[in-house]
Symmetry: C2
Subunit: 368 residues, 2 copies
């Protein structure tokens, strides 16, 4: 393969990857039923439980990207005509609702203005209007940089007999996420955000209550590839072949999780919190307007409208071409006027932030 | 990550991987919307067209393993109550039928004895009994080592207005497969077989006729993650974000395809044909019984019942522990009494075959 440019990745994912993760990914592969490989699977499951802060036995990495994790969560829980209450405050909430509809569910959207969290009492009001199989909500809305509080919604949902599904694609290992303590039933993530592993796997966890709901289904899960009951027979003690595991990617995830736990989750959360705030303050000084409401900003993903004098596309192209720096464009209603800047995992380092801010200053300078 | 044993992979996949593919996989990643990356996607699409022998514009690598390719083929074409005729002569034919049922289709199975091909006239008879949306069949049945002739079934199906779906997971780049010439509408494969790239991606191709059927659907595709119309907007000129591409795996596929085309498809087919026959002759000399019918044997995947005096599990464990050689166990009705031996891609080399046969001789020797 020909040479590729070396980039610093400050988009909404993928983030930079540690050299030891690439080293792991390029190890010669062994078979997906080899005793030495299934021992690695057990270790990955154990490390994922620590990172998700859960005791859930059904905790593994699905063989697809974060969006496959989203689909796995919904397609296993929802049957046709089930009611799903979905919080929508950005593109990924919209995606949750869309996938729930494709599962045949009757979807009730609880919407909030982009940049603002979905209010817990609005979710409760919908739950009181009629029973729901589940409430699904995005913890870290990657389209706006908004942090959604989870605990109150989870409590209200469980009190009313609904399962709690949380999208942690951009939050896992970046901000506090306590699956068991918060009462989350199904949680999924992606590898290419705060875990700093290349994209391709979706860590997921299902509570015993969620697995009871899967077992109680009256209809088959619509997806065979993402059928959690079948996959669990491979990741669990039985080791029954389902599909061939993505071996190299799992090597990388193993090393990525080891690095996360070596640093410690609290230290990692603190690093993201501190550098994210530095970035956000600096952006405001440069005339950017942060899109997420104050008090609900993700440190690891900042969406910000550019100063009026800056041509979004041209400035972003200059960042890439002149500085080898990638940031993301705005999504949905913010396309063409905002950036999404990730400081996730290995990209969230003080020296890298300095280089990022220097480059942003240059490309957003007002012409005299 | 700790050291892992070095294995020679002669199972039903994954196969051995060339060093330059691992080198590609471990390149620092760039973003999935980076101009330098989308240029690679275009090249991958172009190389896949050559390997599939197709002009189909919609030709790409799906973000999952070969089974995700199978699900993608069916979930995009089938709507509830559509009739699907599925050839079943092994585990992977069963899987096709199961996934088609989960798509809501009315499935007619045309069964053959394991090891024998599905007869074209039996498929035609079912088509004459009533119209069908598609006929789906496995080209290389990995559970039995049977090669399914495709051309006649494809011709009969198309004459009767049915789309033709072919599972080429184990056949692509190992035996002749001519998607356009044979009249195949949707074909999918996996990376970890004769392409010799680690598992994790599913090359797929959709004909214009198949895409017309997708566009003519009256109901949404049940899977959002595998929705070909949405994914095509990312792989095509629009570059609309759908999900984050598995970047490192795509680097590996790019290099793996380059190696296939450098060797040349015909030379690669000939290499598999020649060494596969050598293996099969040697196994018969050692008292193995080949499970696939004569004239319908895959060179790249041989399923063979062991001589009666050999303990299958114990001999396979010895191969792994004493020789670092992996072969596969039997599936379904052959579990516990047969092996599946792959000579695929990088594993299909004369010096490796010699080492494999030496080891098999040792572990299957009759005790005096």
């Amino acid at each position: 393969m020909r040479d590729l440019p070396k980039r610093m990745l400050f988009g909404p994912g993928p983030s930079d990857v540690a050299p030891s993760v690439f080293e792991a990914i390029s190890r010669p592969i062994i078979g997906h039923l080899d005793p030495a490989f299934v021992a690695l699977l057990d270790e990955i499951g154990g490390m994922l439980r620590q990172v998700f802060r859960t005791q859930n036995e059904v905790t593994f990495a699905a063989s697809g990207t974060g969006s496959a994790g989203m689909e796995m969560a919904l397609v296993n829980l929802l049957e046709p005509s089930d009611r799903a209450i979905v919080g929508v405050a950005g593109v990924f909430g919209e995606r949750l609702a869309e996938i729930a509809r494709r599962c045949g569910a009757e979807v009730t959207e609880v919407r909030a203005e982009w940049g603002f969290p979905v209010p817990a009492d609005a979710v409760a009001a919908e739950l009181d209007r009629g029973p729901a199989k589940l409430v699904a909500i995005v913890h870290a809305e990657t389209s706006t940089g908004m942090r959604q509080p989870i605990t109150e919604i989870a409590r209200l949902a469980r009190e009313r007999g609904a399962l709690v599904v949380v999208d942690a694609v951009t939050s896992l290992a970046g901000i506090p996420l306590l699956v068991d303590e918060w009462g989350i039933d199904v949680c999924y993530s992606g590898t290419q955000k705060c875990l700093s592993v290349p994209p391709g796997l979706a860590p997921v966890t299902f509570s015993p209550l969620a697995m009871d709901a899967v077992r109680a289904r009256g209809t088959p899960v619509r997806s065979w590839y993402l059928d959690v009951a079948l996959i669990t027979r491979y990741w669990g003690a039985e080791r029954v072949y389902h599909h061939t595991a993505p071996i190299s990617m799992l090597y990388g995830l193993h090393e990525g999780l080891r690095l996360v736990l070596e640093e410690g989750l609290e230290a990692r959360w603190a690093r993201h919190a501190s550098l994210g705030l530095q970035l956000q303050n600096a952006l405001e000084d440069l005339g950017f307007r942060l899109l997420a409401a104050n008090g609900y900003r993700l440190p690891q993903l900042t969406a910000a409208a550019l100063p009026a004098h800056v041509d979004e596309r041209a400035a972003r192209t200059r960042l890439l071409d002149e500085f080898d720096i990638e940031v993301g464009g705005g999504l949905g209603e913010f396309a063409g006027r905002a950036w999404r800047i990730g400081l996730m995992g290995e990209s969230c380092r003080e020296n890298k932030l300095d280089r990022l801010l220097d480059a942003i200053r240059v490309v957003t300078e007002a012409k005299e």
